[in-house]
Each structure stands twice: as C-alpha cells, then as structure tokens.
Assembly symmetry: C2
C-alpha cells in the first residue's frame, strides 16, 4: 500500500451542525461537492463529514457504538500562544475544552478539545519540529 491517507471521514450525528462547526467556527475551507457530505481542503489529508448512520451503511456494519472512539487528530501550530488561541477558537465555535494547553512529557505544549460528536483534536506545539 502506498503511504497516503486520502481522506479522513468523521461520521456525524447532525451534518449541518458539524458543517457549521468546521466551516464557520474553525474556518476550514470547504470544497464544493455533492449534497449530503462535506469535504474540506486541507494541506495534508482531506477532512470529510458524513452522517454516521450512512457511513456505517457504506461499510455495511452496524452504526452502534459508544464511548471513546479510539483515535485523535492532531493539529500542530507554531507557538505556545497559538495552541491556547486555537483552543479558544474551537471553544467559541462550540467545542468542549477537555485539556487546557500545558507542557507535556515529550517536551512540547498541547491541549485537547472535543468536537460536537465527541472526536478529539489535539492542538500541539512541538519545539523539535
């Protein structure tokens, strides 16, 4: 397999609420596309939002599931203050602050927010990068 992830699709409960959060709240650039799904043009892997039930249906599995979804998305920024600022921006957009920006064991500074569907984003500054 070639080392490339084309798209990360988040299965969401309320597509319009999630579009509002990512497009209007976090100012991610939405791509034009068909109704019923949203794509955001990112410099790395593309982000997509799709109703959770339909995503499970596309895989052909049950949509049932609860608790920690077992993964995180990390967004790296250039400074400590940009970590705090990005977390504030997310909270203003409707995210929940889970872990405020703080020095972490690997030598950087990071915090986490939870999006409207319970997906975790780490906002991090890594001074070694």
């Amino acid at each position: 397999m070639k080392p490339h992830i084309t798209i990360i699709t988040l299965g969401v409960k309320d597509l319009q609420r999630s579009i509002n959060f990512y497009e209007n709240g976090l100012n991610l650039p939405r791509k034009e596309g068909p109704e019923g799904i949203a794509f955001f043009k990112m410099t790395g892997t593309m982000l997509s939002l799709y109703p959770r039930d339909k995503l499970a249906e596309d895989i052909s599995i049950s949509a049932e599931g609860a608790g920690f979804q077992g993964f995180t998305l990390a967004h790296n920024v250039a400074s400590l203050s940009e970590v705090d600022q990005t977390l504030e921006e997310a909270v203003a957009a409707g995210a929940e602050l889970v872990k405020p920006g703080q020095k972490v064991f690997w030598g950087g500074y990071s915090g986490y927010f939870r999006d409207p569907d319970g997906f975790y984003w780490e906002i991090a500054h890594n001074p070694f990068l």
Copy 2:
C-alpha cells in the same frame, strides 16, 4: 485554525501487533522515533500508533468504548484492480475483509477492510479524480 491535520493517531490494544500489521503487512514506511509509539511517514497526514489506554490518559478521559468508532480512513488508488489488490494485501497482513471491492453509488469502485483494532479503511478508485 489552519487547514492541516498533522497526525492521525490510532489507539491500539497491542502496539507490536499493530506495528507488524502496518509496517510489515502493509509496508508503510516507519519513521525513527521514541519507544512506545510508532510514526509512519505518509505523503498526507502522518499516521501514528499508540496504546489506546495511554492515548485516553493523554487526553485525560476514560478509555472505555465499544462498537463502531465512527470514522474511516480512505486510501485512493489508480485503478479497479489496484483496489482488489490492496484489499488482498491487507487481508494477507491480517486484516478482515468487510466489503469486497464493488461499484458504488458515487460512480467509483471501493471496498473496506478492518484493521486488527477494528478501524475501517476504505480502498477506493475514483475515476473523476
């Protein structure tokens, strides 16, 4: 927030099993790094594997969770036969074939495999790209 996902981290039950799957089974290029975590150099967002318990601890939440994890990773390839071939490669590496390659409603051809921790990868060919 700038439109960039730096890393997607999958929280895994058995780190060595998952490293075997992605590094030896799928031939993803592993980056050198500290013990206890694995990074794979991808052309898009970087993939990382980290024990699920420790990932939850890092966020400061409970690791409890079950069922569909609510997201998918898509890997696009250049042809229909490459979809089938990549799914076979994943199965040979220990993945479970969930949905064999088939024509899908949006006009492409895709299938899904499930990795050792139940994460879903879509292998897709999109003739419109």
